[in-house]
Symmetry: C2
Subunit: 245 residues, 2 copies
């Protein structure tokens, strides 16, 4: 998972997928003041209760956002792949309501919150694109709620595997027959509202049915359709439909 020339290039690509950006908009994005950092796995980028300082953009690696119950149970509330901005939601909120952590070793571009806000304020197209990005995140969050609230373990897990596959593919990061999912089974459980033990059993069940092929952390998907069906997956909620408006 190597970084591209500019860590912000991926962001430009992602933003312009929904809203067409003029060359000036792209240039302005790429010109954002950014500090590049390489972070170890599990590094906190933001903690619940803290004021966000930066808007981090993932250049390589994975990250996730997470909340804890009073009893200490963890729920991962979103996953992030390279090219995604990690706390657009904090752009206009002064206190974080959740934690943001790297999943793997990751390269992030730290853009000062003020710089990002200025850019959004100056360039309507970018404002629009950021808004769409935030809304799509909201849509994904709703789908997760549905997934966790109303689907059984097998469907739930298959659904997540499908979502990651599609999102990686859209970012041009898919390796064809599958992908590297750098999550422990405990983390998968935390994302799905399941225990690690049950994730293990469910993964094996999916594998036994020939729906996936596992090799270390690599998830192979021999045939898309059966997995998609088992996972009750439809990509509408990802809002990939080309038109913005």
């Amino acid at each position: 998972m190597a970084a591209l020339p500019s860590p912000l290039a991926l962001l430009v690509r992602k933003l312009s997928r929904h809203v067409p950006l003029e060359p000036e908009d792209r240039a302005a994005l790429l010109a954002l003041p950014a500090t590049l950092r390489t972070l170890d796995p599990s590094t906190y980028l933001l903690r619940e209760g803290d004021p966000p300082q930066y808007c981090a953009v993932l250049a390589s690696g994975f990250a996730y956002r997470q909340k804890l119950t009073g009893e200490g149970a963890r729920q991962i509330v979103s996953l992030h792949i390279p090219g995604e901005a990690l706390d657009l939601q904090s752009l206009y909120l002064d206190v974080a309501d959740h934690n943001i952590q790297t999943l793997t070793r990751a390269e992030v571009a730290l853009v000062p919150r003020a710089a990002m806000r200025d850019l959004v304020q100056t360039r309507p197209a970018i404002a629009h694109a950021v808004m769409v990005e935030i809304l799509v995140e909201g849509s994904i969050s709703r789908e997760w709620t549905l997934n966790i609230g109303r689907r059984d373990a097998q469907t739930r897990l298959a659904h997540l595997l499908c979502e990651v596959a599609v999102r990686l593919d859209a970012q041009g990061l898919s390796g064809g027959e599958g992908y590297e999912l750098p999550m422990t089974q405990e983390q998968l459980g935390d994302a799905l509202g399941l225990t690690a033990v049950h994730v293990n059993r469910t993964l094996k069940a999916l594998e036994a049915q020939g729906l996936i092929v596992r090799n270390r952390r690599h998830v192979g998907i021999p045939q898309w359709t059966p997995l998609r069906d088992v996972g009750d997956f439809t990509s509408r909620y990802l809002h990939f439909g080309r038109q913005p408006s």
Copy 2:
């Protein structure tokens, strides 16, 4: 649940809670072209797959947003009380990813999507306020994910009851010792990822512990602290700025 003089007045109040609005901003909001409608319970305001036409603002009554699995199971992904805009998320997305329905008989002000977008484009303060509203909704969605994914039935239900209490209170709609929650137990289940039967048992359990007092659809909360503790509830995720009671 009577409507206020202007159905948009509540929206102004809600938006200005997070971002100070100038008199001109308020006037512009109140001047939005709006069609007032009274809708029966369970009326659809938007269906998944359809292009949103209006941004509906709830003047009175309750509404919710909902998604269905392929097997037909329903998950309510958000609840809305008077004063809230029902599809800000659709403002910049062209296809709905979920359904929006009234919960009770409700009065809504239908604002054409274009008018709302124009207003947001022209008035930075309103854009800011709308953005914050959207972000807070995202935060609530994350908390719901946590609630459904990692809390047991009793905690989960108590948490929801707390959230509604606090939100109603913030909108000035609380009746002191409790409130009218016009949801069937089946709908509560759909919001919590539980079955109606189990909601019934859990409600009785909360009642048996003296945490709530039920009378029809009225939920009485004799003491806030015990219910809050059982529900593992903290209001940070609602981003009210200060601490409520």
